[in-house]
Amino acid sequence: MNEHEVFEVVRDKTVEVLPEVAPAEVSIDGSLVDLGANSIDRVDIVTLSMEELGVTIPPTEFADVKDLRSLVTLLERYA
């Protein structure tokens, strides 16, 4: 799976969890916090993305994830 395909999954799950966000507003250069996601929304988006991609990533791996680009990179590594 390439970076773009992984990003599309994350974007779809972001819109599922944050109904006030339109798909076009989700950019790989942005962050979930800026889109209005609180802490549990972020875990929600990550959980749904992992399940969709069929991966499991230990929580410690997320320590350096600060934005959508680093999230997509991490997911792609395991996908």
Binding site: V17, T47, T56
Partner: protein
């Protein structure tokens, strides 16, 4: 007793109406929400249930705008309610709709009370059995895929957290439980919180029960559930000789309570007065009812209300259609009321036994019947048990109700009664 408490708002989501107006119409028409469903956990065996079907929170909120008697739903409140409910289980989404209805009817958006003077009591325990059961396969397959909010949503108190977030309630808030009398317990505690000055306005919510397959099987094992008989839905049949047990129902209801003085000051309209309430335990952990315990709860509530049994016009009975339960309640009513004058029905004939919500659902049913001057039918009552009771049959009764009782009893020896007077 301390200052009188009145009801100023109602809300309901039920199998026979997803707002108070449609629920009231269904009561008048004697519309029953019971269906035959299949149980996927038991070889698709047929079972009886009054299910909540087709509920969607956004659609429900849109439907509130412009409903008679409700202050309009402002966009900000709509947004907060949807935000709170978006990732919530259906039981909480339905509670959000019911609470918002009651909030609007009580005119809290337009005649506001400071958030820290508003409280909330949610009646019901063990509300998340079905939620946990539904997630168990995911847990076995891959625990990391459990919903992010599982740790929050598996707790009964998620009702309190979510409703208080949506409505900006920052006074006192709790869950309370009394088995099938939880709804009445919520109403009683809300009234007490107002009476002692802890809050000025309090929401009482009877939370929705969704039975998980093991609990349903366990109830069937006790012999208390009505089983389907062919394709005809002829149950539940409270007070009828052919009664064969209860049918679970999925509903949630909310009442807004405040002191009479507070309502007058705020300019909100009292719907009824909650003149008395009482609860009494049997000192019994089993499911068998007690005539003495039920009578004691009713007598205590009537005494608190300063009303004698002969003034009661209508009894919204607990009556679930189990022979032991129905008979015990009729015997207790004979002791308490003396005469056979009051009309008696059971809303469970139409919405099933809504378990944790029952006391609140039936309080709403009592209020709307008092205000509408009618008593809903019991459509399957053909051969009434007992003698000398005025049990409502297949046709609604048009009559004035000045004084009503609403009973709820629960496994584990819980007996409770609310006394309502015309406002």
């Amino acid at each position: 007793m301390t200052e009188p408490v009145v009801v100023t708002g109602l809300g309901i989501v039920s199998p026979i109406g997803m707002d108070v107006a449609s629920f009231t119409r269904s009561l008048r028409a004697g519309r029953c929400g019971v269906e035959v469903v299949t149980d996927p956990a038991h070889d698709d065996e047929p079972a009886l249930l009054a299910p909540l079907v087709g509920f969607d929170l956004a659609t429900a909120l849109d439907g509130l705008d412009g409903l008679d008697g409700l202050a309009g739903l402002k966009p900000e409140l709509r947004r907060e309610v949807l935000r709170a409910g978006h990732r919530s289980p259906i039981t909480i989404q339905a509670a959000l709709s019911a609470a918002t209805q009651a909030w609007l009817e009580a005119e809290l958006p337009t005649r506001p009370v400071p958030g820290d003077r508003v409280g909330i009591v949610v009646g019901g325990n063990n509300l998340t059995g079905a939620y946990a059961f539904d997630q168990y396969d995911t847990y076995l397959r891959e625990p990391m895929y459990l919903p992010a909010r599982y740790a929050l949503q598996v707790k009964d108190t998620d009702h309190v957290g979510t409703l208080s977030q949506a409505l900006g309630i920052t006074g006192e808030g709790y869950t309370v439980g009394a088995s099938s009398a939880s709804g009445n317990a919520a109403v009683m505690h809300a009234a007490r919180m107002i009476g002692c000055g802890a809050v000025d306005v309090c929401l009482a919510v009877g939370a929705m029960s969704r039975l998980d397959p093991p609990e349903r099987a366990a109830l069937a094992k006790l012999g208390v559930l009505a089983e389907p008989d062919g394709t005809e839905v002829e149950a539940p049949r409270p007070f009828d000789r052919e009664r064969s047990g209860f049918v679970p129902g999925e509903a949630v209801a909310c009442l807004v309570l405040e002191s009479r003085t507070g309502a007058r000051r705020r300019g909100s309209l009292p719907l009824v007065e909650l003149a008395g309430y009482a609860q009494a335990l049997d000192g019994n952990s089993l499911s068998d009812p007690s005539v003495a315990g039920e009578a004691r709860a009713m007598n205590t509530a009537l005494a608190q209300a300063g009303v004698s049994g002969c003034r009661v016009d209508y009894v919204n009975a607990h009556a679930t259609a189990t022979p032991a339960g129905d008979d015990a309640e009729l015997a207790a009513l004979r002791r308490v009321l003396g005469t056979g004058r009051p009309w008696i029905n059971s809303t469970k004939a139409l919405v099933g036994h809504t378990l944790s919500a029952a006391g609140a659902v039936e309080a709403v049913a009592t209020v709307v019947q008092m205000r509408g001057g009618f008593i809903h039918p019991n459509p399957t009552l053909r051969h009434p048990v007992g003698d000398g009771y005025r049990l409502v049959g297949a046709t609604a009764v048009e009559t004035t109700i000045d004084c009503a009782l609403s009973n709820s009893f629960g496994f584990g020896g819980f007996n409770s009664c609310l006394v309502m007077l015309r406002a």
